[in-house]
Amino acid sequence: MAEIVLETRALTMRFGGVTAADNVNFRLRARELRCLIGPNGAGKSTFFKCVTGLQTPTEGQVYMRGHDTTHWMPHQIASLGVGIKMQTPSVMDNLTVHENIWLAARRFHPPEEANRKTAEMIERLALGPIARNALGQLAHGERQRVELGLVAVGDPWLVLLDEPAAGMSAEDVERMTGIIHELNKTAAIVIVEHDMQFIRSIAEVVTVFHQGAVLMEDHVDRVMADPQVRNVYLGKKA
Protein backbone atom coordinates (compact mmCIF):
# COMPACT_ATOMS: atom_id res chain seq x y z
CA MET A 1 0.00 0.00 0.00
CA ALA A 2 1.07 3.56 -0.67
CA GLU A 3 2.19 5.78 2.19
CA ILE A 4 -0.40 7.62 4.27
CA VAL A 5 -0.19 11.33 3.39
CA LEU A 6 -3.02 12.68 5.51
CA GLU A 7 -4.30 11.33 8.79
CA THR A 8 -6.50 12.75 11.52
CA ARG A 9 -6.70 11.10 14.92
CA ALA A 10 -9.79 11.68 17.07
CA LEU A 11 -10.22 15.14 15.54
CA THR A 12 -12.90 17.04 17.45
CA MET A 13 -14.08 20.62 16.99
CA ARG A 14 -16.57 22.28 19.31
CA PHE A 15 -18.14 25.70 18.96
CA GLY A 16 -19.65 26.41 22.36
CA GLY A 17 -22.11 23.61 22.91
CA VAL A 18 -22.12 22.42 19.31
CA THR A 19 -19.81 19.63 18.29
CA ALA A 20 -19.17 20.30 14.62
CA ALA A 21 -16.65 17.51 14.18
CA ASP A 22 -16.75 14.56 16.52
CA ASN A 23 -13.84 12.19 16.93
CA VAL A 24 -13.01 11.92 13.24
CA ASN A 25 -10.39 9.36 12.29
CA PHE A 26 -9.46 9.80 8.67
CA ARG A 27 -6.70 8.32 6.51
CA LEU A 28 -5.71 9.14 2.98
CA ARG A 29 -3.02 7.39 0.97
CA ALA A 30 -0.76 8.83 -1.72
CA ARG A 31 -2.51 9.40 -5.08
CA GLU A 32 -5.89 8.49 -3.62
CA LEU A 33 -8.98 10.46 -4.63
CA ARG A 34 -11.52 10.81 -1.87
CA CYS A 35 -14.84 12.61 -1.79
CA LEU A 36 -16.41 13.85 1.44
CA ILE A 37 -20.16 14.09 1.34
CA GLY A 38 -22.90 14.72 3.84
CA PRO A 39 -25.92 16.96 4.40
CA ASN A 40 -25.56 20.62 5.37
CA GLY A 41 -24.05 20.98 8.83
CA ALA A 42 -22.60 17.47 8.79
CA GLY A 43 -19.12 18.78 9.61
CA LYS A 44 -17.42 18.46 6.22
CA SER A 45 -16.39 22.09 6.02
CA THR A 46 -15.29 22.21 9.66
CA PHE A 47 -13.19 19.12 9.06
CA PHE A 48 -11.77 20.78 5.95
CA LYS A 49 -10.90 23.97 7.85
CA CYS A 50 -9.20 22.02 10.64
CA VAL A 51 -7.07 20.12 8.15
CA THR A 52 -6.04 23.26 6.26
CA GLY A 53 -5.13 25.18 9.42
CA LEU A 54 -7.85 27.79 9.04
CA GLN A 55 -9.20 26.53 12.35
CA THR A 56 -7.44 24.70 15.16
CA PRO A 57 -9.29 21.61 16.37
CA THR A 58 -10.40 21.48 20.01
CA GLU A 59 -8.96 17.99 20.38
CA GLY A 60 -7.11 15.43 18.31
CA GLN A 61 -4.27 15.63 15.80
CA VAL A 62 -3.68 16.14 12.12
CA TYR A 63 -0.68 14.50 10.44
CA MET A 64 0.62 15.19 6.95
CA ARG A 65 3.37 12.90 5.68
CA GLY A 66 4.34 12.29 9.29
CA HIS A 67 4.41 15.99 10.36
CA ASP A 68 2.07 16.87 13.19
CA THR A 69 0.36 19.88 11.58
CA THR A 70 -2.40 20.32 14.18
CA HIS A 71 -1.38 23.80 15.29
CA TRP A 72 0.18 24.97 12.03
CA MET A 73 -0.86 28.10 10.17
CA PRO A 74 -2.34 27.73 6.66
CA HIS A 75 0.80 29.12 5.02
CA GLN A 76 2.98 26.55 6.78
CA ILE A 77 0.72 23.73 5.61
CA ALA A 78 0.67 25.12 2.06
CA SER A 79 4.48 25.36 2.13
CA LEU A 80 4.69 21.58 2.68
CA GLY A 81 3.28 21.15 -0.82
CA VAL A 82 -0.42 21.08 -0.06
CA GLY A 83 -2.76 22.80 -2.53
CA ILE A 84 -5.91 24.26 -1.04
CA LYS A 85 -9.03 25.67 -2.66
CA MET A 86 -11.77 27.19 -0.54
CA GLN A 87 -15.49 27.01 -1.10
CA THR A 88 -15.95 30.49 -2.57
CA PRO A 89 -13.63 31.59 -5.36
CA SER A 90 -10.71 33.28 -3.66
CA VAL A 91 -8.42 35.01 -6.14
CA MET A 92 -6.68 38.33 -6.61
CA ASP A 93 -9.45 40.18 -8.44
CA ASN A 94 -7.53 43.24 -9.65
CA LEU A 95 -4.59 41.26 -10.99
CA THR A 96 -4.35 39.45 -14.30
CA VAL A 97 -4.70 35.71 -14.75
CA HIS A 98 -0.98 35.56 -15.53
CA GLU A 99 -0.03 37.48 -12.38
CA ASN A 100 -2.30 35.32 -10.21
CA ILE A 101 -0.73 32.10 -11.42
CA TRP A 102 2.77 33.58 -11.36
CA LEU A 103 2.38 34.48 -7.70
CA ALA A 104 1.42 30.89 -6.93
CA ALA A 105 4.32 29.52 -8.98
CA ARG A 106 6.82 31.95 -7.45
CA ARG A 107 6.28 30.48 -3.98
CA PHE A 108 8.01 27.27 -5.00
CA HIS A 109 10.28 28.38 -7.85
CA PRO A 110 12.80 31.14 -8.67
CA PRO A 111 11.44 33.92 -10.96
CA GLU A 112 12.55 32.51 -14.35
CA GLU A 113 11.27 29.04 -13.51
CA ALA A 114 8.03 30.63 -12.28
CA ASN A 115 7.59 32.39 -15.65
CA ARG A 116 7.98 29.08 -17.47
CA LYS A 117 5.62 27.24 -15.09
CA THR A 118 3.03 29.99 -15.45
CA ALA A 119 3.11 29.84 -19.24
CA GLU A 120 2.74 26.06 -19.08
CA MET A 121 -0.21 26.23 -16.72
CA ILE A 122 -1.99 28.86 -18.82
CA GLU A 123 -1.53 26.61 -21.84
CA ARG A 124 -2.75 23.55 -19.94
CA LEU A 125 -5.89 25.29 -18.68
CA ALA A 126 -6.57 26.91 -22.08
CA LEU A 127 -6.51 30.37 -20.51
CA GLY A 128 -4.33 31.91 -23.25
CA PRO A 129 -6.87 34.38 -24.70
CA ILE A 130 -7.69 35.82 -21.27
CA ALA A 131 -4.23 35.62 -19.68
CA ARG A 132 -3.90 39.43 -19.54
CA ASN A 133 -7.41 40.06 -18.22
CA ALA A 134 -8.04 40.92 -14.61
CA LEU A 135 -9.74 38.16 -12.63
CA GLY A 136 -12.57 40.49 -11.65
CA GLN A 137 -13.78 40.64 -15.27
CA LEU A 138 -14.03 36.89 -15.71
CA ALA A 139 -16.99 34.55 -15.52
CA HIS A 140 -17.47 32.35 -12.46
CA GLY A 141 -16.32 29.18 -14.20
CA GLU A 142 -13.18 30.86 -15.51
CA ARG A 143 -12.34 32.16 -12.03
CA GLN A 144 -12.75 28.67 -10.61
CA ARG A 145 -10.50 27.31 -13.32
CA VAL A 146 -7.84 29.95 -12.56
CA GLU A 147 -8.02 29.09 -8.88
CA LEU A 148 -7.51 25.44 -9.71
CA GLY A 149 -4.49 26.62 -11.71
CA LEU A 150 -3.14 28.41 -8.61
CA VAL A 151 -3.38 25.12 -6.75
CA ALA A 152 -1.92 22.97 -9.53
CA VAL A 153 1.06 25.18 -10.43
CA GLY A 154 2.72 24.47 -7.06
CA ASP A 155 3.03 20.75 -7.96
CA PRO A 156 1.27 19.67 -4.76
CA TRP A 157 1.33 16.10 -3.42
CA LEU A 158 -1.92 16.68 -1.54
CA VAL A 159 -4.84 18.72 -2.87
CA LEU A 160 -7.80 19.80 -0.75
CA LEU A 161 -10.81 21.14 -2.67
CA ASP A 162 -13.96 22.52 -1.06
CA GLU A 163 -16.94 22.32 -3.44
CA PRO A 164 -15.01 22.87 -6.67
CA ALA A 165 -18.06 22.27 -8.90
CA ALA A 166 -20.38 24.72 -7.16
CA GLY A 167 -22.10 27.04 -9.62
CA MET A 168 -20.28 25.77 -12.70
CA SER A 169 -21.74 24.92 -16.09
CA ALA A 170 -21.66 21.31 -17.33
CA GLU A 171 -18.87 22.17 -19.74
CA ASP A 172 -16.79 23.78 -17.00
CA VAL A 173 -17.34 20.80 -14.72
CA GLU A 174 -16.19 18.43 -17.43
CA ARG A 175 -13.04 20.46 -18.04
CA MET A 176 -12.37 20.58 -14.33
CA THR A 177 -12.83 16.84 -13.98
CA GLY A 178 -10.06 16.45 -16.54
CA ILE A 179 -7.76 18.75 -14.57
CA ILE A 180 -8.47 16.90 -11.35
CA HIS A 181 -7.70 13.54 -12.94
CA GLU A 182 -4.44 14.98 -14.25
CA LEU A 183 -3.55 16.28 -10.78
CA ASN A 184 -4.43 12.90 -9.33
CA LYS A 185 -1.56 11.27 -11.22
CA THR A 186 0.87 12.87 -8.78
CA ALA A 187 -1.24 14.01 -5.83
CA ALA A 188 -3.71 12.66 -3.34
CA ILE A 189 -6.96 14.61 -3.53
CA VAL A 190 -9.75 15.31 -1.06
CA ILE A 191 -12.93 16.82 -2.49
CA VAL A 192 -15.77 18.16 -0.35
CA GLU A 193 -18.78 18.15 -2.62
CA HIS A 194 -22.56 18.40 -2.76
CA ASP A 195 -23.14 17.69 -6.42
CA MET A 196 -23.99 13.97 -6.59
CA GLN A 197 -23.64 13.80 -10.35
CA PHE A 198 -20.12 15.18 -10.11
CA ILE A 199 -19.26 12.72 -7.34
CA ARG A 200 -20.53 9.77 -9.35
CA SER A 201 -18.38 10.85 -12.28
CA ILE A 202 -15.18 11.32 -10.31
CA ALA A 203 -15.17 9.36 -7.05
CA GLU A 204 -14.12 5.90 -6.08
CA VAL A 205 -14.04 5.90 -2.30
CA VAL A 206 -16.45 8.23 -0.52
CA THR A 207 -16.52 9.25 3.14
CA VAL A 208 -19.98 10.19 4.43
CA PHE A 209 -20.26 12.69 7.28
CA HIS A 210 -23.32 12.90 9.48
CA GLN A 211 -23.72 15.04 12.58
CA GLY A 212 -20.01 15.66 12.82
CA ALA A 213 -18.95 12.04 12.69
CA VAL A 214 -17.99 9.64 9.92
CA LEU A 215 -21.06 7.59 9.08
CA MET A 216 -19.60 5.38 6.40
CA GLU A 217 -16.59 4.99 4.17
CA ASP A 218 -16.79 2.82 1.11
CA HIS A 219 -16.87 2.64 -2.67
CA VAL A 220 -19.19 5.20 -4.23
CA ASP A 221 -21.62 2.60 -5.59
CA ARG A 222 -22.05 0.87 -2.27
CA VAL A 223 -22.41 4.24 -0.48
CA MET A 224 -25.14 5.33 -2.87
CA ALA A 225 -26.95 2.03 -2.39
CA ASP A 226 -26.75 2.09 1.39
CA PRO A 227 -30.20 2.62 2.94
CA GLN A 228 -28.82 4.54 5.93
CA VAL A 229 -26.93 7.00 3.71
CA ARG A 230 -29.98 7.46 1.51
CA ASN A 231 -31.95 8.17 4.61
CA VAL A 232 -29.68 10.85 6.12
CA TYR A 233 -28.35 12.41 2.99
CA LEU A 234 -30.47 11.84 -0.02
CA GLY A 235 -33.72 11.99 1.87
CA LYS A 236 -36.96 10.49 0.54
CA LYS A 237 -36.66 11.86 -2.98
CA ALA A 238 -33.77 9.62 -4.05
Binding site: K85, S90, R107, P129, G154
Partner: protein, 345 residues
Protein backbone atom coordinates in the same frame (compact mmCIF):
# COMPACT_ATOMS: atom_id res chain seq x y z
CA UNK B 1 3.46 46.66 -13.96
CA UNK B 2 4.45 47.18 -17.57
CA UNK B 3 7.77 48.20 -19.05
CA UNK B 4 11.15 47.56 -17.51
CA UNK B 5 13.17 49.05 -14.71
CA UNK B 6 15.77 50.51 -17.09
CA UNK B 7 13.02 52.49 -18.82
CA UNK B 8 11.93 53.71 -15.38
CA UNK B 9 15.46 54.84 -14.62
CA UNK B 10 15.79 56.76 -17.90
CA UNK B 11 12.37 58.41 -17.52
CA UNK B 12 13.03 59.36 -13.90
CA UNK B 13 16.44 60.87 -14.69
CA UNK B 14 15.05 62.92 -17.58
CA UNK B 15 11.98 64.16 -15.69
CA UNK B 16 14.05 64.96 -12.59
CA UNK B 17 16.58 66.90 -14.65
CA UNK B 18 13.85 68.94 -16.36
CA UNK B 19 12.08 69.68 -13.07
CA UNK B 20 15.38 70.63 -11.41
CA UNK B 21 15.91 73.14 -14.17
CA UNK B 22 12.38 74.59 -14.46
CA UNK B 23 10.92 74.51 -10.96
CA UNK B 24 13.43 76.89 -9.27
CA UNK B 25 12.49 79.49 -11.93
CA UNK B 26 8.86 79.33 -10.77
CA UNK B 27 9.02 78.77 -7.01
CA UNK B 28 11.73 79.64 -4.48
CA UNK B 29 14.03 76.74 -3.65
CA UNK B 30 13.33 77.12 0.08
CA UNK B 31 9.63 76.33 -0.51
CA UNK B 32 10.45 73.73 -3.16
CA UNK B 33 12.64 71.86 -0.70
CA UNK B 34 9.81 71.27 1.72
CA UNK B 35 7.48 70.27 -1.14
CA UNK B 36 10.03 67.64 -2.18
CA UNK B 37 10.29 66.41 1.43
CA UNK B 38 6.51 66.13 1.73
CA UNK B 39 6.54 64.29 -1.58
CA UNK B 40 8.85 61.70 -0.06
CA UNK B 41 6.61 61.45 3.01
CA UNK B 42 3.58 60.96 0.73
CA UNK B 43 5.44 58.25 -1.18
CA UNK B 44 6.18 56.41 2.07
CA UNK B 45 2.48 56.03 2.84
CA UNK B 46 1.64 55.51 -0.84
CA UNK B 47 3.91 52.47 -0.81
CA UNK B 48 2.46 50.70 2.20
CA UNK B 49 -1.17 51.78 1.70
CA UNK B 50 -1.44 51.83 -2.08
CA UNK B 51 0.56 48.69 -2.76
CA UNK B 52 0.48 46.84 0.56
CA UNK B 53 -3.07 47.66 1.63
CA UNK B 54 -1.88 48.80 5.07
CA UNK B 55 -3.73 51.98 6.06
CA UNK B 56 -1.49 53.60 8.66
CA UNK B 57 -2.86 56.63 10.48
CA UNK B 58 0.52 57.15 12.10
CA UNK B 59 2.90 57.82 9.25
CA UNK B 60 3.62 61.15 10.99
CA UNK B 61 5.01 59.15 13.93
CA UNK B 62 7.81 57.74 11.77
CA UNK B 63 8.36 61.15 10.15
CA UNK B 64 8.70 62.78 13.58
CA UNK B 65 10.80 59.94 14.92
CA UNK B 66 13.21 60.37 12.01
CA UNK B 67 13.43 64.11 12.64
CA UNK B 68 13.99 63.72 16.40
CA UNK B 69 16.50 60.92 15.90
CA UNK B 70 18.46 63.12 13.52
CA UNK B 71 18.38 66.15 15.86
CA UNK B 72 19.43 64.21 18.95
CA UNK B 73 22.13 62.25 17.13
CA UNK B 74 23.46 65.37 15.39
CA UNK B 75 23.87 67.22 18.70
CA UNK B 76 25.73 64.27 20.20
CA UNK B 77 27.84 63.32 17.20
CA UNK B 78 28.40 66.68 15.54
CA UNK B 79 28.71 65.33 12.00
CA UNK B 80 25.62 64.62 9.90
CA UNK B 81 26.39 61.33 8.12
CA UNK B 82 25.76 58.88 10.96
CA UNK B 83 22.70 60.82 12.25
CA UNK B 84 21.15 60.59 8.75
CA UNK B 85 21.63 56.82 8.76
CA UNK B 86 20.22 56.55 12.28
CA UNK B 87 17.21 58.66 11.26
CA UNK B 88 16.35 55.95 8.72
CA UNK B 89 17.14 52.96 10.95
CA UNK B 90 15.39 54.01 14.18
CA UNK B 91 11.92 54.52 12.64
CA UNK B 92 12.38 51.34 10.59
CA UNK B 93 13.17 49.28 13.70
CA UNK B 94 10.37 50.95 15.67
CA UNK B 95 7.94 50.16 12.84
CA UNK B 96 9.19 46.59 12.58
CA UNK B 97 8.43 46.03 16.28
CA UNK B 98 5.06 47.80 16.12
CA UNK B 99 4.17 46.07 12.86
CA UNK B 100 5.16 42.63 14.15
CA UNK B 101 2.94 43.20 17.19
CA UNK B 102 -0.02 44.18 15.00
CA UNK B 103 0.36 41.73 12.13
CA UNK B 104 1.28 38.71 14.26
CA UNK B 105 -1.67 39.63 16.47
CA UNK B 106 -3.78 39.42 13.30
CA UNK B 107 -5.07 42.98 13.63
CA UNK B 108 -6.52 44.35 10.44
CA UNK B 109 -8.08 47.46 8.96
CA UNK B 110 -9.73 49.63 11.52
CA UNK B 111 -7.86 48.25 14.53
CA UNK B 112 -4.58 48.85 12.77
CA UNK B 113 -5.67 52.41 12.08
CA UNK B 114 -6.61 52.97 15.71
CA UNK B 115 -3.34 51.60 17.06
CA UNK B 116 -1.15 53.62 14.70
CA UNK B 117 -3.20 56.71 15.53
CA UNK B 118 -2.81 56.15 19.26
CA UNK B 119 0.94 55.55 18.94
CA UNK B 120 1.22 58.92 17.19
CA UNK B 121 -0.78 60.59 19.96
CA UNK B 122 1.36 59.00 22.66
CA UNK B 123 4.54 60.25 20.99
CA UNK B 124 2.97 63.71 20.60
CA UNK B 125 1.98 63.86 24.28
CA UNK B 126 5.29 62.43 25.42
CA UNK B 127 7.43 64.83 23.39
CA UNK B 128 5.33 67.73 24.69
CA UNK B 129 5.98 66.70 28.28
CA UNK B 130 9.77 66.54 28.04
CA UNK B 131 10.41 70.17 29.01
CA UNK B 132 12.21 69.34 32.27
CA UNK B 133 16.03 69.18 32.53
CA UNK B 134 15.84 65.47 33.40
CA UNK B 135 14.84 64.66 29.78
CA UNK B 136 18.29 64.52 28.23
CA UNK B 137 19.80 62.11 25.75
CA UNK B 138 23.56 62.60 25.81
CA UNK B 139 24.04 66.32 25.29
CA UNK B 140 20.63 66.86 23.73
CA UNK B 141 17.80 68.30 25.81
CA UNK B 142 14.38 67.21 24.57
CA UNK B 143 12.89 70.63 25.21
CA UNK B 144 9.18 69.72 25.52
CA UNK B 145 6.88 71.76 23.30
CA UNK B 146 9.76 74.07 22.33
CA UNK B 147 11.46 71.18 20.60
CA UNK B 148 15.16 70.91 19.82
CA UNK B 149 16.88 73.78 17.98
CA UNK B 150 20.49 74.37 17.13
CA UNK B 151 21.74 71.00 15.96
CA UNK B 152 24.38 70.35 13.32
CA UNK B 153 22.67 70.50 9.91
CA UNK B 154 23.61 68.47 6.85
CA UNK B 155 27.25 68.67 5.86
CA UNK B 156 29.43 67.14 3.16
CA UNK B 157 30.17 63.65 4.53
CA UNK B 158 33.40 63.73 6.55
CA UNK B 159 33.67 67.53 6.68
CA UNK B 160 31.49 68.99 9.51
CA UNK B 161 32.40 72.55 8.47
CA UNK B 162 31.04 72.26 4.92
CA UNK B 163 27.29 72.84 5.38
CA UNK B 164 24.86 71.98 2.61
CA UNK B 165 22.15 74.64 2.60
CA UNK B 166 20.07 76.91 0.35
CA UNK B 167 19.93 75.93 -3.32
CA UNK B 168 22.41 73.07 -2.84
CA UNK B 169 20.17 71.56 -0.15
CA UNK B 170 17.21 71.66 -2.52
CA UNK B 171 19.17 69.70 -5.13
CA UNK B 172 20.24 67.14 -2.49
CA UNK B 173 16.61 66.62 -1.40
CA UNK B 174 15.34 66.38 -4.98
CA UNK B 175 17.99 63.82 -5.94
CA UNK B 176 17.24 61.89 -2.74
CA UNK B 177 13.56 61.79 -3.72
CA UNK B 178 14.43 60.58 -7.22
CA UNK B 179 16.63 57.82 -5.76
CA UNK B 180 13.94 56.75 -3.29
CA UNK B 181 11.40 56.76 -6.14
CA UNK B 182 13.63 54.46 -8.18
CA UNK B 183 14.23 52.16 -5.21
CA UNK B 184 10.46 51.95 -4.66
CA UNK B 185 10.00 51.21 -8.38
CA UNK B 186 12.60 48.44 -8.19
CA UNK B 187 10.96 47.05 -5.06
CA UNK B 188 7.54 46.97 -6.72
CA UNK B 189 8.95 45.16 -9.76
CA UNK B 190 10.70 42.58 -7.60
CA UNK B 191 9.06 39.37 -6.45
CA UNK B 192 8.67 40.94 -3.01
CA UNK B 193 6.68 43.86 -4.42
CA UNK B 194 4.48 41.70 -6.62
CA UNK B 195 3.76 39.41 -3.67
CA UNK B 196 2.92 42.47 -1.54
CA UNK B 197 0.34 43.53 -4.12
CA UNK B 198 -1.04 39.98 -4.09
CA UNK B 199 -1.42 40.24 -0.31
CA UNK B 200 -3.22 43.57 -0.71
CA UNK B 201 -5.64 41.85 -3.06
CA UNK B 202 -6.33 38.71 -1.06
CA UNK B 203 -4.56 37.83 2.16
CA UNK B 204 -6.27 34.48 2.66
CA UNK B 205 -5.44 33.31 -0.85
CA UNK B 206 -1.80 34.28 -0.50
CA UNK B 207 -1.44 32.44 2.80
CA UNK B 208 -3.12 29.37 1.28
CA UNK B 209 -0.46 29.56 -1.43
CA UNK B 210 2.19 29.32 1.26
CA UNK B 211 3.19 32.94 1.84
CA UNK B 212 3.78 34.16 5.38
CA UNK B 213 1.57 37.25 5.18
CA UNK B 214 2.48 38.50 8.67
CA UNK B 215 6.23 38.62 8.03
CA UNK B 216 5.84 40.23 4.62
CA UNK B 217 3.50 42.95 5.88
CA UNK B 218 5.89 43.69 8.75
CA UNK B 219 8.82 44.12 6.35
CA UNK B 220 6.81 46.38 4.02
CA UNK B 221 5.53 48.47 6.95
CA UNK B 222 9.09 48.89 8.17
CA UNK B 223 10.26 49.91 4.69
CA UNK B 224 7.61 52.64 4.57
CA UNK B 225 8.73 53.87 7.98
CA UNK B 226 12.36 54.02 6.80
CA UNK B 227 11.34 56.32 3.93
CA UNK B 228 9.23 58.47 6.28
CA UNK B 229 12.20 58.64 8.66
CA UNK B 230 14.49 59.87 5.87
CA UNK B 231 11.89 62.52 4.98
CA UNK B 232 11.78 63.49 8.67
CA UNK B 233 15.56 63.93 8.84
CA UNK B 234 15.52 66.06 5.70
CA UNK B 235 12.70 68.11 7.21
CA UNK B 236 14.69 68.63 10.42
CA UNK B 237 17.58 69.95 8.33
CA UNK B 238 15.28 72.23 6.39
CA UNK B 239 13.56 73.73 9.43
CA UNK B 240 16.69 73.63 11.63
CA UNK B 241 14.39 72.77 14.54
CA UNK B 242 12.25 69.78 15.50
CA UNK B 243 9.08 70.20 17.55
CA UNK B 244 6.36 67.83 18.80
CA UNK B 245 4.03 69.23 16.13
CA UNK B 246 5.69 66.78 13.74
CA UNK B 247 3.67 64.08 15.54
CA UNK B 248 0.39 65.99 15.42
CA UNK B 249 -2.86 64.45 14.22
CA UNK B 250 -3.19 67.15 11.60
CA UNK B 251 0.07 66.05 10.04
CA UNK B 252 -1.01 62.39 10.03
CA UNK B 253 -4.35 63.21 8.43
CA UNK B 254 -2.71 65.37 5.78
CA UNK B 255 -0.52 62.51 4.58
CA UNK B 256 -3.61 60.35 4.06
CA UNK B 257 -5.31 63.17 2.14
CA UNK B 258 -2.24 63.58 -0.10
CA UNK B 259 -2.47 59.91 -1.05
CA UNK B 260 -6.22 60.03 -1.75
CA UNK B 261 -6.01 63.18 -3.87
CA UNK B 262 -2.87 62.11 -5.74
CA UNK B 263 -4.04 58.59 -6.41
CA UNK B 264 -3.60 55.40 -4.42
CA UNK B 265 -1.89 52.46 -6.02
CA UNK B 266 0.39 54.70 -8.09
CA UNK B 267 3.94 55.74 -7.31
CA UNK B 268 3.65 59.30 -8.62
CA UNK B 269 0.23 60.09 -7.16
CA UNK B 270 1.17 60.46 -3.49
CA UNK B 271 4.22 62.58 -4.44
CA UNK B 272 2.17 64.92 -6.62
CA UNK B 273 -0.66 65.00 -4.09
CA UNK B 274 1.73 65.90 -1.29
CA UNK B 275 3.64 68.59 -3.18
CA UNK B 276 0.49 70.03 -4.77
CA UNK B 277 -1.58 70.25 -1.61
CA UNK B 278 1.35 71.52 0.46
CA UNK B 279 1.85 74.29 -2.11
CA UNK B 280 -1.85 75.18 -2.03
CA UNK B 281 -1.62 75.32 1.74
CA UNK B 282 1.45 77.56 1.46
CA UNK B 283 -0.38 79.95 -0.89
CA UNK B 284 -3.47 79.97 1.34
CA UNK B 285 -1.27 80.69 4.31
CA UNK B 286 -0.39 84.05 2.74
CA UNK B 287 -3.96 85.34 2.98
CA UNK B 288 -6.22 85.80 5.98
CA UNK B 289 -9.65 85.68 4.33
CA UNK B 290 -10.42 81.99 4.73
CA UNK B 291 -8.94 79.39 7.03
CA UNK B 292 -6.82 77.08 4.89
CA UNK B 293 -7.97 73.86 6.52
CA UNK B 294 -11.48 74.65 5.24
CA UNK B 295 -10.20 74.84 1.68
CA UNK B 296 -8.15 71.64 2.04
CA UNK B 297 -11.23 69.91 3.46
CA UNK B 298 -13.27 71.13 0.52
CA UNK B 299 -10.65 69.84 -1.93
CA UNK B 300 -10.74 66.42 -0.28
CA UNK B 301 -14.54 66.27 -0.41
CA UNK B 302 -14.58 67.29 -4.07
CA UNK B 303 -12.01 64.63 -4.92
CA UNK B 304 -13.82 61.89 -3.05
CA UNK B 305 -17.03 62.82 -4.87
CA UNK B 306 -15.76 63.43 -8.38
CA UNK B 307 -12.31 61.86 -8.73
CA UNK B 308 -12.35 59.09 -6.14
CA UNK B 309 -9.30 57.37 -7.63
CA UNK B 310 -7.19 60.51 -7.52
CA UNK B 311 -5.36 62.71 -10.01
CA UNK B 312 -2.81 60.33 -11.47
CA UNK B 313 -5.18 57.42 -12.29
CA UNK B 314 -7.58 59.94 -13.84
CA UNK B 315 -4.80 61.42 -15.99
CA UNK B 316 -3.68 57.94 -17.04
CA UNK B 317 -7.23 57.02 -18.13
CA UNK B 318 -7.54 60.31 -20.01
CA UNK B 319 -4.25 59.63 -21.78
CA UNK B 320 -5.32 56.09 -22.71
CA UNK B 321 -8.66 57.31 -24.07
CA UNK B 322 -7.05 60.09 -26.11
CA UNK B 323 -3.81 58.61 -27.39
CA UNK B 324 -3.33 55.03 -26.24
CA UNK B 325 -3.91 51.84 -28.15
CA UNK B 326 -7.43 50.86 -27.36
CA UNK B 327 -7.41 47.71 -25.26
CA UNK B 328 -9.37 45.20 -27.28
CA UNK B 329 -12.43 43.92 -25.50
CA UNK B 330 -13.00 40.21 -25.33
CA UNK B 331 -15.79 40.46 -27.85
CA UNK B 332 -13.40 42.03 -30.33
CA UNK B 333 -10.82 39.36 -29.66
CA UNK B 334 -13.37 36.62 -30.12
CA UNK B 335 -14.58 38.20 -33.35
CA UNK B 336 -11.04 38.58 -34.57
CA UNK B 337 -10.14 34.96 -33.93
CA UNK B 338 -13.38 33.86 -35.56
CA UNK B 339 -12.53 35.92 -38.64
CA UNK B 340 -9.11 34.38 -38.70
CA UNK B 341 -10.59 30.90 -38.56
CA UNK B 342 -12.87 31.79 -41.42
CA UNK B 343 -9.93 33.02 -43.46
CA UNK B 344 -7.86 29.93 -42.84
CA UNK B 345 -10.69 27.44 -42.73
Amino acid sequence: MQGSLSRDVIATVIVTAILLWIMPLLIGTYTLTVLVIYGMLGLSLGLIWGFGGILCFGQAAFFGLGAYTYAIAAINIGESTLPMILAVLVPAIFAALLGAMMFYGRLTDVYLGVITLVVTLILFKFMNSTAGPQYVIGNARMGGFNGIPGFQTLNVPGDPGAYIWGDAYFYVCAVALAIVFLLVSALLRSSFGRIAVGIRENETRMSLMGYDVRARKTVLFSTGAAIAGLAGALFANWGEIVTPNLFSLGQSAEIIIWCIVGGLGTRLGPILGAAGLAYVKFLLGQQHLIDNTLILGLILVLFVLFLPRGIVPALVSLWRISFGRRPLGRIHQARRSRNRERLHG
